[in-house]
């Protein structure tokens, strides 16, 4: 038989549970969001506003940003994905992540959206976000690679900003005029990130070369003579030609933009986001840059355009809510905000004539250059590996031993071809 004290204690626990239950039930759904750019100062004001407005409009959902340095972004994501605890919303190398089973197909969400939403993206853009016919991400923003110049240094060297170099020979001639004591024309990227590979590809394509065959089963860095010639020309900037800053094997995006902001190099091959980075590093550079298409030895040579997509990880317990956020973030308002504040080009095809986009002459020029661009990353499930490891390794070896460039890139072709056929 229960005593009075036992009955009282039981009733007290029951009432306490009833009081707590609603608050537990009302706990918001927390979605983790990871992209390498959350730690970049030019994007910070935009993503904070995005989260604030989304949470205000969706009180039952909270977005928790996962801040990680760029060079650790992929490894952190992979570690979490292997443990099936990856952040719900991610921006990663889409093909590689989809191949490894880390991402959720988004077809059911995409097909349920109205045509107005779906038609904001071109088929070419959407195909870059697909793997084996399934959509794995919504294209959010991108970057077209072109040559950005320091106008003051160009004029100081007696060169005309209105007549930028059009061919490799022009570029080298400009480079020699822009190189002097403790300052150089450009920087060769040889650091251990895939940005090294991006810039290398732009030079190969500008010479009419190809690094891979059409179905990505064979590497042709050395096999294609135009590709090899372009590689030697580009890497030679840091060697025999002498127009590039020293220490190329440790030069990544960060070092390149810092050198440019400090006036140590007069030009850099980069995307529109580098403009915001440089202006952030050195306010005096605002308004002093101009952009020109990459010099090329063949007509209509394409440049490289990155495509960053927002995806849902396969281990996400709340995919419906994650889709809500992705759709919100992909909207016109935030695409324009990212372009204007962070200098990240929008990928929606309904913004090209937006007044805010057209108001920035640099952005307008990048949009124009990007009309003839090839999508990056290349469609291979092992791209994240070969772009940041094998290709970078070959570039570093060739920079350290230029007389062995042929042999190094022949070895690269053999190694990559074996990897591509072993998928």
């Amino acid at each position: 038989m229960m005593t009075r004290s036992t009955i009282r204690a039981t009733l007290a626990v029951a009432f306490a549970s009833l009081a707590i239950a609603p608050s537990i039930a009302q706990q918001p759904i927390v979605l983790q969001w990871q992209t390498a750019n959350l730690t970049e100062s030019q994007y910070e004001p935009v993503w904070k506003k995005t989260i604030a407005e989304f949470e205000a409009a969706n009180p039952g959902i909270r977005i928790e940003p996962v801040l990680v340095a760029r060079k650790d972004h992929w490894t952190k994501f992979v570690a979490a994905a292997q443990a099936k605890k990856a952040p719900c919303i991610v921006s990663v190398d889409l093909t590689t992540a989809a191949y490894n089973g880390y991402l959720m197909p988004l077809d059911k969400y995409w097909n349920a959206e109205p045509a107005a939403f779906r038609n904001a993206y071109s088929p070419a853009m959407l195909s870059a976000a697909k793997w084996k016919g399934h959509l794995y991400g919504v294209p959010i923003w991108g970057g077209t690679y072109a040559d950005i110049y320091n106008r003051d240094l160009v004029v100081k060297a007696g060169l005309d900003p209105a007549k930028p170099p059009k061919t490799f020979a022009d570029y080298i001639a400009w480079g020699k005029r822009l190189t002097g004591n403790d300052h150089w024309a450009t920087a060769v990227l040889g650091g251990k990130t895939d940005t090294t590979t991006r810039v290398l590809l732009t030079w190969i394509w500008a010479n009419g070369g190809e690094a891979f065959n059409d179905d990505m089963t064979e590497a042709t860095f050395a096999k294609d003579p135009k590709s090899l010639a372009a590689i030697k020309t580009y890497l030679g900037f840091a060697g025999a030609t002498g127009i590039a800053a020293p220490a190329p094997t440790t030069t990544n995006y960060l070092e390149q933009t810092t050198l440019f902001a400090q006036g140590k190099i007069a030009t850099m091959r980069n995307a529109y986001w580098a403009v915001a980075k440089v202006e952030g590093d050195n306010r005096a550079m605002k308004g002093k840059m101009f952009v020109a298409p990459n010099p090329a030895n063949v007509p209509n040579a394409p440049t490289l355009a990155t495509m960053t997509a927002s995806s849902i990880s396969s281990s996400c317990p709340h995919p419906d809510e994650a889709w809500k956020f992705i759709k919100f973030d992909a909207g016109k308002k935030w695409s324009i905000e990212r372009a204007v504040v962070s200098n990240w080009m929008p990928l929606r095809n309904d913004l090209a004539n937006d007044p805010q986009i057209r108001a920035d002459p640099l952005l307008a020029e990048f949009v124009k250059i990007g009309e003839h661009a090839r999508s990056y990353p290349l469609p291979s499930p092992i791209w994240a590996d070969i772009a940041a490891n094998d290709i970078v390794d070959a570039v570093q070896r060739a920079l350290l031993a230029p007389d062995k460039t042929d042999e190094i890139f022949r070895d690269l072709d053999a190694r990559l071809t074996k990897k591509l056929r072993d998928i």
Binding site: K84, N100, P246, A247, T249, T250, N389, Q396, L400
Partner: protein
């Protein structure tokens, strides 16, 4: 009852080996006291090791796995990158440990000889050891930056170099740089061990040597070194075991580059797992590294047993 010969602390004696349940009944609480630690060790050591070995038997591509048996070991051991990495590991470990011991002993002798400011100097020398490895490596990464780093600035100001040196830009200088940073970090630990050893050497031995007319070098060679011999062997073996597993400094400073010049085995393992997503092969590299470390551990155990046995 059977007699069993057991070795306890190097001293050999005979203890009767009990067989009765009653005897076990008297000892069960000893096992009970040890059980929680044993379970903990199983959870944090045995289970992960077993899982790693199990993973090494699979071809892992993200969340997709295929059993391949010893196929990953064949791939790893026939890959030039593994043998190159092993070579870099041995060079890195050899140079680092040698410098740890030499500089650690030198600093210990210096501190031992000082009559004043010993404590503040000890704290000063210990400071690198207090800094988290990744933090220290990041600091050195910026100190060694070719264009804007302090090291090049000072060297140019002192006219030691005329142009910026790309310390991490070439394999040779990059390896030297990471060894230097590892030495900066690792010397304090050895210094502490040696200092403790120096303080146990009886002063009478030095007095006797001085009376016999021994020089400073002779006192060091015939009094200090023999007394520290056991400690030097233990410290260097433990240091080798610790250094050959290092990832943090090299991972932050060079990620194994340039051109694989600093890619020690732990870095190769990390790159294979998290950059290439080949977890099976990475696990195989991990098992190979474990075998290497175990080999040094066996040497350590044998050396400590030999040194502790009483002479005949």
């Amino acid at each position: 009852m059977d007699d069993a010969t057991v070795a306890v602390g190097g001293f050999r004696g005979k203890r009767r080996k009990p067989r009765s349940a009653a005897a076990f009944g008297r000892r069960w609480y000893g096992y009970a006291f040890v059980a929680p630690v044993a379970l903990f060790l199983c959870a944090v050591v045995v289970v992960p090791l077993a899982h790693a070995f199990w993973t090494s038997l699979y071809r892992v591509r993200g969340l997709n796995t295929t059993f391949v048996g010893l196929g990953n070991y064949v791939r790893v051991l026939s890959d030039d990158a593994f043998w190159h990495s092993l070579g870099v590991s041995l060079v890195f470990t050899g140079c680092s440990v040698a410098l740890h011991m030499l500089l650690g002993l030198a600093l210990a002798l210096l501190l031992h000889a000082l009559a004043f400011a010993r404590t503040p100097l000890r704290i000063l020398f210990l400071t690198p050891w207090m800094v988290a490895p990744a933090v220290g490596a990041t600091i050195w990464l910026w100190l060694l930056e070719p264009q804007f780093g302090v090291v090049n600035y000072l060297l140019r100001a002192a006219h030691v170099v005329s142009a910026p040196v790309a310390w991490l830009g070439e394999p040779g200088t990059a390896l030297a740089a990471v060894v230097a940073v590892d030495v900066w970090r690792g010397v304090p630990f050895v210094m502490l061990l040696m200092l403790a050893g120096l303080q146990t050497i009886p002063a009478e031995q030095y007095e006797a040597a001085a009376i016999d007319g021994a020089s400073a070098w002779q006192r060091f060679r015939y009094v200090t070194l023999p007394n520290l011999r056991y400690l030097i062997v233990v410290a260097s073996t433990l240091d080798i075991i610790n250094t050959i597993r290092h990832y943090d400094i090299i991972g932050v400073m060079t990620a194994g580059g340039p051109a694989g010049g600093t890619e020690v085995l732990p870095v190769l393992l990390y790159n294979t797992a998290f950059r290439a997503n080949h977890f099976g092969e990475a696990a195989a590299i991990g098992v190979a590294l474990l075998v290497l470390v175990l080999a040094f551990s066996v040497v350590y155990v044998k050396l400590t047993r030999l040194d502790r046995q009483p002479s005949a």
